[in-house]
């Protein structure tokens, strides 16, 4: 009983990556264990918590619900790729740091990718919209108060050119 492996090629955070994986390999496991990008976290493996969210061709998707082979050729952005151009913290990451938007940090990668995609389309959300934008991600530590604040702060940072004020 040997599993057939397929070559999976992805462009991850701007870099071409490839590895051989069985058809059943989840994208989350492929990123974490085959490509060793362990920033993407797995909190439930059934599509509910959002910790594993990555951007697939710019759209937030739950990598625990995708087979790696099914996104062969896609452009993937993980939390590691949400840095700013100069390698420092990206605006959403910076906002989480400034607003104490994380405690244990396990849910954080999923929030950062989700918010990055959201703000690209909604640069100036209200507080209520910010709350809605993160409505599909679970965090057990923060009570979301400071994550909502982080969304608003990240929007501000991006509008002002991505630099901390």
């Amino acid at each position: 009983m040997t599993e057939v492996r397929h070559d999976v090629r992805l462009r991850v955070n701007g870099v071409e990556r490839s590895a051989a994986a069985p058809a059943r390999r989840l994208l989350s496991d492929f990123l974490r264990h085959d490509l060793r990008l362990t920033g993407t976290h797995v909190g439930c493996e059934h599509g509910v918590c959002g910790a594993c969210t990555v951007l697939v061709d710019g759209r937030p998707m739950r990598s625990c619900l995708l087979f790696a082979v099914s996104v062969d050729g896609a452009e993937i952005t993980t939390v590691e790729g949400c840095r700013s151009g100069d390698g420092g913290l990206g605006p959403v990451q910076q906002a989480f740091l400034e607003c104490h938007g994380l405690q244990c940090g396990f849910c954080t990668p999923g929030f950062i990718t989700t918010i990055t995609a959201y703000l690209a389309e909604h640069p100036d959300p209200t507080e209520e919209e910010a709350r809605e934008a993160i409505g599909g991600n679970l965090c057990r530590c923060t009570g979301y108060v400071n994550i909502v604040a982080s969304v608003l702060r990240a929007a501000e940072l991006i509008r002002s050119g991505g630099r901390p004020a």
């Binding site: 009983m1 909190g43 509910v48 989480f96 994380l102 923060t142 108060v145």
Partner: protein, 811 residues
């Protein structure tokens, strides 16, 4: 002047790595390790007839399969009872792998090692276990009835029974002008951190040493437990806690079966092994908490002052008692809150059921106790027609009565004595914050608009910072960098930041020069763990003490070098200098070099300390009898007893007149945890606790069917709050310093969650006008209560003299 960092809301130092995906959590380690998976029982109670692995053997990638038969020596024995208690007369713990009988769905039956997790699970699927099902005991009623047994040798399913008494409560109640009896129930929830448990073990055969990484709340204690279980000398075992994705209590239990088995198999196989718990496993194979039923009898006077309180409660401890009876003991003592109860009697029974074991979840028995007490306060107010806040105020322990001795024994085995607090001030603050006195007008306006709203409040006192001790090691390197190591672990509380604040202040160095290491037994060997809101109090104090020693030594050495009087020196910005003469200064790094008299030099700094570097005093040894080389010190903090934080919460809810949907409109917190090291981190702890409190009050429950199947073992069905369920949280801080520790701090980790069910029950009751006595409450349950209330079927409060024994409401 170095700015004082204590009390500053500085950003966390752990965050740059955690926000960029550079954290190192358990499953991120050991990329080449073999994977472990478990075959777990599908039955709540069954005898194992046989385990057939034939079909599994030809799976490509299989490395090993183990069952109980393979275990030997101490690994084959039951897991430890971590906290024995004289009242725990029948403690029972699991074996690492089931020994002939399984007692809850999820109990581990076989362990599989394979090349990756997918393959390991393939193997699990092919292992056939024959079970003979036994009757399952599910719920408090079934446990009490004891028609069936969870453990063959515990005929009444009772693990423990404990009575504590101060005065003669039954007599005081009988003699009181007013009496009430209430039956109050709370269902199970669970810590449910976003990261489950996990273990990664490496055995170095040549060195005969074991390194274990575990997502735990106690690396030091796990180390001792593993050395014992695996029969290794303690100094051959290291336990390292990597970044941990939340704990909330469940990860204080140790050693878990998996924590024993993974290292054990790693040694046998001579390979690296890793097991990462999946979500379903976490639901059925870790621990739950909260499930309790309480019967409260209370006697009071016409002003609502308590004369006597008699509480009996039943605690469902699940299948095993690895953590003893800490949870019900805490309920029994912390139920008293900020009040003088008059005479008090409390009795509990801790009961076995065929469900997942119960161990502390943030709050650890306090949410239940506070719920019982605060529901009672509301009932008294209602009976007498007095304002709910007023009844509470009349029963408060007053600030001038501090320290206040309840005459009871707390969970640490020490007297229950509150150290400080100003409850009337906190209540005044809360009423102001939530607008208590204006609520009637708000309610009227809402009613006119066809809306139904209610307000509730609840108070709690929380023993924090329990002993026995924590320690810290502080070392100044010759570069001037300061390294702080403490044994307790972190699961998101920001210890790398707050301990750095404490150390930087105590030493007079910039915080950027300080690095903090936690939860690594290679760096600090003796510690207790992170639980019971104890880290800031215990390790914070230990860091302050150790840093103080280092400071004294630095001043002593610098005084000699500067030929100054130690009393004239201060440390500013990382250098020891003469007060008022900053030109006469010597950098701490240099002091560190001087502190270690050397024969060999390896850089300019260390050259300062070699034997010919300066006019050495030849009339005494280079290192004095009572001294040690190096600018470093270890110290321990061990308090006489716990310190008591407290708080008061108020909530305004809206209930939909049609659908009975429940919405929290406002949630206000007054919180006193003594001095705040980092107010931003404390606020974050409160936010997270409140969210869990709301979850426990309105959404979270673990639904077992009669056969002991957990019906909602996924995030799809076990409802934790999303952002849409948590309102903005308004917080006001009071700061009554603790007289018990050098920092004047009290713990903050659990506070936010404690009064959640109490305050929301109070608010919903206020909106609806009938008693809420079971939590959590869902819209459909509220809707049903409305129907029953409309038809007069809702139970009324009773005078306990009316009837005895109590019949259950059955609601």
């Amino acid at each position: 002047m170095t700015t004082k960092l204590f009390g500053e809301p500085i950003p966390r130092r752990e965050d740059p790595r955690l926000v960029s995906g550079a954290g190192r959590y358990l499953d991120d380690l050991g990329p080449d390790a073999l994977a472990v998976a478990f075959v777990r029982s599908p039955h709540a109670h069954a005898r194992i007839i046989d385990i057939d692995v034939t079909d599994a053997l030809d799976v490509d990638g299989l490395v090993a399969i183990y069952t109980y038969e393979d275990l030997a020596g101490r690994v084959a024995e039951p897991l430890p009872v971590l906290i024995p208690h004289p009242a725990l007369h029948a403690p029972r713990t699991a074996h690492p792998l089931a020994n002939g009988v399984v007692r809850h769905v999820g109990e581990a039956v076989a362990m599989v090692v394979a090349t990756d997790r997918y393959v390991a699970e393939d193997v699990c699927d092919r292992i056939r276990v024959g079970y003979r099902p036994l009757p399952a005991v599910v719920g408090i009623d079934a446990a009490c009835a004891a028609t069936h047994r969870v453990h063959e040798d515990v005929p009444d399913n009772t693990a423990a029974r404990l009575v504590q008494e101060v005065g003669d409560a039954p007599a005081a109640i009988a003699a009181a002008p007013y009496r009430l009896e209430l039956e109050l129930e709370i269902e199970r929830s669970a810590s449910m951190p976003m990261e489950g448990r996990g273990v990664y073990a490496r055995w170095d055969a040549a060195d005969r040493s074991l390194r274990v990484y575990s997502s735990t709340q106690t690396s030091t204690s796990l180390r001792f437990a593993l050395a014992t279980k695996l029969e290794l000398p303690v100094d051959r075992v290291e336990v390292v806690t990597p970044d941990v994705g939340g704990g909330f209590g469940v990860k204080i239990v140790h050693p878990w079966p998996e924590e024993v088995l993974v290292p054990w198999a790693a040694i046998r196989l001579g390979r690296e092994l890793r097991w990462t718990e999946d979500r379903r496993e976490h639901f059925v194979a870790s621990a739950h908490e909260r499930g309790q039923r309480h019967r409260v009898r209370v006697g009071f006077d016409a002003d609502g002052r308590l004369r006597g309180l008699d509480v009996t409660f039943w605690h469902d401890n699940g299948a095993y008692t690895p953590y003893g009876i800490i949870v019900p003991v805490i309920t029994a003592t912390q139920l008293l809150g900020p009040y003088r109860p008059g005479a008090y009697r409390v009795e509990f029974a801790s009961l076995y059921t065929n469900t997942v074991q119960v161990t502390p979840y943030r709050g650890a028995g306090r949410p239940q106790g506070v719920y019982a007490m605060e529901r009672t306060m509301d009932a008294i107010a209602q009976q007498l027609g007095i304002d709910r806040a007023t009844v509470r105020e009349r029963n408060f322990i007053q600030p001038e009565q501090m320290p206040y001795d309840h005459g009871m024994i707390f969970q640490d085995g020490r007297p229950l004595i509150y150290d400080s607090g100003d409850y009337p001030a906190a209540m005044a603050m809360l009423k102001e914050l939530v607008g208590w006195d204006d609520f009637a007008a708000y309610r009227e306006r809402a009613r006119a608009a066809g809306r139904r709203v209610g307000i509730g409040l609840a108070c709690y006192v929380e023993g924090t910072g329990v002993g026995p001790y924590e320690g810290a090691h502080v070392r100044v390197e010759t570069t001037g960098q300061v390294v702080v190591a403490t044994g307790l672990t972190s699961q998101g509380q920001g210890h790398e930041t707050v301990f750095a604040q404490v150390a930087a202040d105590a030493l007079g160095v910039p915080i950027d020069d300080v690095t903090v290491v936690t939860g690594d037994t290679r760096r600090f060997k003796y510690a207790v763990g992170t639980f019971a809101s104890r880290a800031a109090v215990m390790s914070g104090s230990a860091v302050a003490l150790a840093a103080g020693k280092v400071r004294d030594k630095a001043v002593r050495i610098a005084a000699e070098a500067l030929e100054a009087d130690p009393g004239d020196l201060e440390i500013v910005d990382g250098a020891v200098q003469v007060k008022g003469d900053p030109a006469a200064r010597i950098a701490l790094g240099t002091v560190a070099a001087l502190a270690n008299p050397l024969r060999y030099s390896f850089d300019a700094q260390t050259a300062l300390a070699t034997q010919f570097a300066k006019a050495a005093r030849v009339d005494r040894p280079p290192v004095a009898d009572d001294d040690e080389p190096g600018l470093e010190a270890t110290d321990y903090y061990s308090p006489i007893r716990s310190t008591f934080a407290y708080g008061m919460h108020a909530a305004i809810v809206e209930t939909d007149p049609e659908t009975a949907d429940i919405r929290v409109l406002r949630y206000c917190v007054v919180h006193d945890c003594g001095n705040l090291i980092n107010p931003r981190i404390v606020a974050g702890q409160v936010h997270g606790g409140v969210a869990q409190g709301i979850g426990g009050a309105l959404y979270e429950r673990l639904a077992y069917d009669r056969d002991g199947q957990l019906l909602n073992a996924s995030f799809m069905d076990f409802l934790m709050p999303y952002a849409s369920e948590v309102p903005a949280i308004e917080i006001a801080h009071l700061q009554t310093p603790s007289p018990l520790n050098p920092l004047g701090v009290k713990g903050a980790g659990e506070a936010g969650v404690i009064p959640g069910s109490a305050v929301l029950a109070s608010a919903i009751e206020d909106a609806e006008g009938f008693r809420i006595s079971r939590m959590p409450i869902s819209p459909s349950e509220l809707w049903e209560l409305r129907q029953r209330h409309a038809t007069g079927a809702s139970p009324a409060d009773r005078d306990p003299a009316d009837r005895d024994p109590v019949d259950r409401e059955g609601s």
